[in-house]
């Protein structure tokens, strides 16, 4: 409960306190004296002159913990138009039958919206004893009340409710009939769930033949199809002129897995418009039924474009090797959209026999078919490197491009050299772009990024500037230590074109490893343009990546030291502000001495101090009085407790200390931070033995005191 936050605008703190105690107490002492006392206190609020806000929130508490004892007080509030639903929230869930009785009683005296609410609550509680009383309201002059009564009867269900609703459907007021139909549907649904299919179907039939809104008729048709497994009725909908009837037929068919439903869909395929055929194909494809494949294959050759497109798509998902010829025919056909859909489908076929078929056909294929099969080799990652290399030297540029892309998808590390060569020394100038793309595709999927980066790095020397730029971009995508070294070297080098690519790549590096490289590039001796870019990349790592508080603070400290402009200094302050800790507090406080950003540094210092609390004030004092220079600290041992009742907490303290002599525990409460109280009720101490700048010291702290390790 202590983690809960109540956004109570003006509500009583008293209620909040009671709620907290109540839930925790109720768990600790179920049914005990304390719980009863607490419930009495809440009931007393309802019976008092307390403001409505307090009563409302008290109702919510009673929804969690109220018993029969709360019911009378809650029942009184049901008549209050402003508090009625607050009270009903509790009455709907209190298990005691007195809650039903109270609601039934209220039903006799209320009118209008309050009555509607009470009827709705009785429906939620499915109070069978309320059926007679609710039924009487079917003829209420207030249409909202009568309609609520009809739906409530449907929710409660049972024979009596069903009979009342059937009568009302046949001879009740016309205005209430839509709600009565809804009630009937609800009763029928319960009958269906209970396995009373015949009764359910009979009731659904009554609704679908009544003069009720079209949506109710559709629901009833669905119900009849489900209850009777009525294929004729399903087929009728699939062939109906009314689009909505077709839709309910189709969605109902999707709910049913049986073979006769599949047959109904297949049978409808020849008798409906092309637009509907396309939808039926999709519906067939999602049935887990192998028998639909021949039907779908047939549709591939004779259907309209819409149908054929859907067929290509679904064959990729449900097809097997027998679909290959159909798909290849479509893939080399004139219609680009169908061709691409068919090629995608060939790439997606799950049948493992397809790979062998593709390889065999490739050795004999020519022209368009050859290019298509090469694309499929790439999409399926079939190992056919020798054949692909041969094709990559083909006179036809389309085949060369397909082959290069397929190589990108399939080569292993020891075959990578071929693609590198195609980038660094292209045989055909027009292949440059696709060769680079293929190499990138290959490199980012290599299981050993370091080995891959080594090959790329060694290819840098002797290559043209353009090729080196391409290799650097790819190295940036590969990542790892080798890539970082090569990219870092290029960023620090003299070639402007390479510096540009490399510095951008470093700015987007995905690991903190790039931080020292970026810091080096951000030094005052570096080129101004790249220096700023590097510093921003460095601060991006400090802001976004996983760092300890101490590491992040140190990075900001370094950034503040090397920054030449206030823009970057302010960025560093921003990082400090969004990662508040004792470590970042010290850096922000120290930054107050930089005149051009002193104001911002003061604001950030205040913000951090406010967030971290605890020892912040003392830390700030130390910064102001003596500076707060980093120190090399090693925790040797730490104990918490008193006398014999102590526990070792060395590891916790070790994890919580940075380089600034501050131990930042997860909570200012020692017992929480150290995993429990070793000596309940007694004053305890934390004793820390540590090494600071080479000297061994020991310090003691009273329980919950801020922990700042003294200097030697």
């Amino acid at each position: 409960m202590n983690r809960s936050h109540w956004g109570l605008l003006g509500a009583s703190f008293l209620i909040l306190t009671m709620a907290i105690e109540f839930c925790c107490g109720a768990q600790a002492e179920p049914g005990g004296q304390t719980q009863r006392d607490r419930e009495s206190a809440l009931v007393a609020v309802l019976q008092s002159d307390a403001p409505k806000a307090e009563k409302a929130l008290t109702c919510k508490q009673l929804a969690v913990v109220g018993t029969a004892k709360s019911v009378p007080a809650l029942a009184k509030l049901v008549a209050d138009p402003e508090l009625t639903s607050w009270a009903r929230t509790a009455l709907e869930v209190i298990p005691d039958p007195s809650a039903d009785a109270a609601l039934r009683s209220a039903m006799r005296s209320l009118s209008g919206r309050s009555l509607v609410g009470v009827i709705n609550s009785l429906a939620v509680r499915r109070d069978a004893k309320a059926v007679e009383g609710i039924a009487a309201h079917l003829s209420n002059a207030d249409l909202q009340v009568a309609s609520a009564a009809a739906v409530a009867l449907g929710k409660i269900g049972g024979n009596t409710a069903a009979q009342v609703l059937e009568r009302a459907l046949a001879s009740g007021a016309v205005a209430v009939r839509p709600a009565v139909a809804q009630g009937c549907i609800l009763v029928a649904e319960q009958l269906l769930e209970a396995g009373r299919d015949g009764q359910a179907a009979a009731l659904y039939d009554k609704v679908r033949t009544a003069d009720v809104p079209a949506q109710r008729v559709r629901e009833a048709i669905r119900g009849v199809i489900l209850a009777r497994r009525s294929i004729p009725l399903l087929t009728e909908q699939l062939r109906a002129d009314d689009e909505e009837m077709f839709r309910i037929g189709l969605s109902t068919a999707n709910e049913l897995a049986s073979a006769d439903v599949t047959e109904s869909l297949v049978g409808a395929l020849d008798r409906v418009s092309p637009a509907r055929q396309a939808l039926i194909v999709l519906s067939l494809a999602q049935r887990d039924d192998d028998t639909v494949l021949p039907t779908i294959l047939q549709a591939a050759s004779r259907g309209s474009k819409n149908v054929r497109l859907n067929v290509m798509q679904v064959l990729g998902r449900i097809g097997d090797v027998t679909c290959m010829q159909t798909l290849l025919d479509a893939a080399v056909g004139a219609d680009t959209e169908i061709s691409e859909a068919a090629t995608r489908a060939l790439g997606a076929l799950a049948d493992p026999k397809v790979d062998a078929q593709v390889t065999t056909r490739l050795t004999h294929a020519n022209g368009r078919l050859r290019a298509t099969l090469i694309d499929v080799v790439g999409l399926r990652r079939i190992q056919a490197v020798a054949e692909l290399r041969k094709a990559a030297g083909d006179a036809d540029p389309a085949i060369r491009s397909s082959a290069l892309m397929a190589l990108g998808a399939t080569v292993s590390l020891h075959e990578l050299g071929y693609l590198i060569e195609r980038v660094t020394g292209p045989q055909y100038q027009r292949d440059t772009k696709v060769a680079r793309k293929a190499l990138l595709t290959a490199c980012v999927r290599m299981p050993d990024p370091e080995a891959c980066a080594a090959q790329l790095s060694s290819a840098m020397s002797g290559s043209s500037l353009s090729a080196q730029s391409a290799l650097l971009e790819i190295l940036g995508n590969v990542g790892g230590a080798t890539s970082l070294a090569t990219v870092g070297k290029a960023a620090a080098g003299d070639q402007v074109e390479l510096k540009e690519v490399a510095s951008r790549s470093l700015g987007k590096w995905m690991t903190p490893r790039a931080a020292p490289v970026l810091l080096e590039l951000a030094q005052p001796t570096a080129d101004q343009k790249y220096r700023i870019r590097a510093l921003r990349g460095y601060l991006r790592i400090a802001r976004q990546m996983k760092r300890t508080d101490a590491q992040r603070a140190e990075m900001c400290e370094q950034a503040l030291k090397v920054a030449a402009r206030d823009d970057e200094r302010l960025l560093a302050l921003k990082v400090l502000e969004i990662h508040p800790s004792m470590d970042t507090l010290v850096v922000a406080a120290t930054a107050r001495s930089i005149p051009s950003i002193a104001g911002d540094a003061r604001r950030v210092t205040r913000a951090i101090a406010q967030k971290v609390g605890g020892a912040a004030a003392e830390v700030l004092k130390l910064v102001e009085n003596e500076g707060f220079s980093p120190a090399k600290i090693e925790i040797i041992q730490a104990h918490y407790g008193i006398g014999d009742d102590t526990k070792e907490v060395t590891q916790v303290v070790k994890k919580s200390v940075g380089r600034l002599r501050i131990v930042s525990l997860v909570s200012p409460d020692y017992n929480t931070s150290f995993g429990g109280d070793p000596a309940p009720g007694r004053a305890k101490q934390l004793v820390v033995k540590y090494k600071i700048n080479g000297a061994i010291r020991e310090a003691s702290f009273m329980e919950n005191a801020p922990i700042i390790l003294p200097m030697p």
Partner: protein, 429 residues
């Protein structure tokens, strides 16, 4: 350009125009515009006629996504705030170069129009489930913003109503239709990571919130702000303009709103998808410790909802870990894999900024095909239940056991009572 390049480029175009649908089995699936019959000029009969309910900040964004779709005709908007109605009408009329968009204060009037096929619901969360079920009963298909329900009972009712009416429902959890999230979930779901062990979600806060009762202020004229309709199914309280921020008003179940629900309806939903748990929910929930809430599915997969420890991959990150590998991704559109082999030669489009265009397209496709969209009522039901159950564990600050077949907590009466709350009359689901 090679055919394979064309296919990749075409897929990109395809994603950009968002012609994209899924099946009831949540198998990623693409349906071309031509396949749905609107590759060229779109006949009036092929247009989906849409109305909007609650077009505030998020609604305005969603409206833009709908207006981008060539087969949509947006004809009406409903909002209890006059300024929102006028603004939305101006946007729609400008798009079509007409003055035809009708405005309504009361959603019941909009829903009574027979010419409207589908509605966009982007009210405050207080209204979502009630408005969505009203729309379904009125024969409309529904795209509804998240969180779509206020409690466990509403989640179950939502699924039931949409099943009964045969209408299409898409929750506004648009990350289900972004390639990097799809890819990550697919890796986990199809065993590419080995036996799945742990799925991680980022909740962006775990405090439970109740909207409470603010200091009364004079109620504005009904035509400007209809306070009674704004409250709708929420328990009555006096007008206070601070409540008019639908984002913060009655976000969850009144008693236990907020919590992990706001973002969990996205990222816990993705974890559900990854764990192949679209029709169930975790069975054990532990209250948070050190910023981590742990829950467990029946098959032992652990769901960790945690605030920290994420890679810099943007907001709403998720991470899935199996015996043989892991993947982490977020709203940047980028992802990090334990091994590049997991890509298996695939190119996953990088789309940052979590646009809803693709999700809206998926919805519209399903309006036409009658297949289930990615975030159907069934899927949304259990993703929301997982969040509500976690919130109840946070609120009660004790471990809970949930039975997803009976949809009740085991041996905890207080937790069970928190599964629902009364709706203010005359509203009901």
């Amino acid at each position: 350009m090679t055919v394979s390049e064309k296919i990749q480029a075409s897929r990109r175009r395809f994603l950009k125009t968002a012609v994209h649908a899924s099946t009831a089995l949540a198998v990623p699936q693409f349906i071309s515009g031509s396949a749905l019959g609107y590759g060229e000029a779109i006949a009036a009969s092929d247009r989906v006629v849409v109305g909007g309910i609650g077009i505030g900040n998020r609604g305005t964004y969603d409206l833009g996504c709908f207006l981008q779709q060539e087969d949509v005709q947006f004809v009406a908007v409903c909002d209890v705030k006059q300024t929102a109605r006028s603004r939305a009408k101006a946007t729609i009329d400008e798009k079509y170069g007409t003055k035809d968009c009708q405005t309504y204060r009361d959603l019941r009037v909009l829903l009574s129009r027979d010419d409207i096929d589908a509605v966009l619901i982007a009210t405050g969360p207080n209204w979502h489930a009630t408005a969505a079920t009203m729309a379904a009963k009125a024969g409309k298909d529904v795209y509804c913003e998240k969180p779509s329900t206020k409690n466990i009972t509403q989640s179950l009712d939502l699924a039931k109503v949409f099943r009964r009416t045969g209408r299409i429902f898409q929750a506004g959890t648009q990350r289900r239709n972004l390639p990097h999230f799809e890819f990550a979930c697919e890796l986990a779901r199809t065993g590419k990571l080995g036996k799945l062990r742990t799925v991680y979600a980022h909740p962006a806060g775990m405090s439970t919130v109740s909207s409470g009762w603010a200091t009364p202020e004079p109620e504005p004229a009904k035509e400007n702000v209809d306070w009674d309709l704004y409250l709708g199914p929420a328990a009555w309280r006096p007008f206070n303009k601070q409540h008019l921020d639908g984002f913060n008003f009655e976000k969850g179940g009144g008693m236990v709103g907020g919590g992990v629900l706001e973002w969990g309806s996205h990222c816990v939903d993705l974890c559900q998808w990854a764990a192949g748990a679209d029709t169930t929910a975790p069975v054990k929930y532990h209250p948070p410790q050190d910023g981590r809430l742990e829950a467990f599915y029946e098959d032992g997969v652990k769901l960790v909802i945690r605030g920290g420890g994420w890679m810099p991959l943007g907001s709403c990150p998720v991470r899935f870990e199996g015996d043989d590998g892991w993947i982490e991704t977020g709203d940047s559109g980028k992802f990090v894999l334990s091994s590049p082999d997991l890509l298996a030669g695939r190119e996953v489009e990088e789309i940052g900024g979590y646009p809803a265009t693709f999700h809206v397209r998926d919805f519209l496709n399903c309006v036409k095909t009658r297949l289930a969209p990615r975030a159907s009522a069934e899927v949304a039901c259990y993703a929301h239940i997982a969040c509500h159950a976690a919130n109840i564990a946070i609120f009660l600050d004790r471990p809970l056991t949930y039975d997803p077949l009976k949809n009740e907590f085991v041996g905890d009466d207080q937790a069970n009572r928190l599964r629902s709350e009364a709706l203010r009359a005359p509203w009901s689901i």
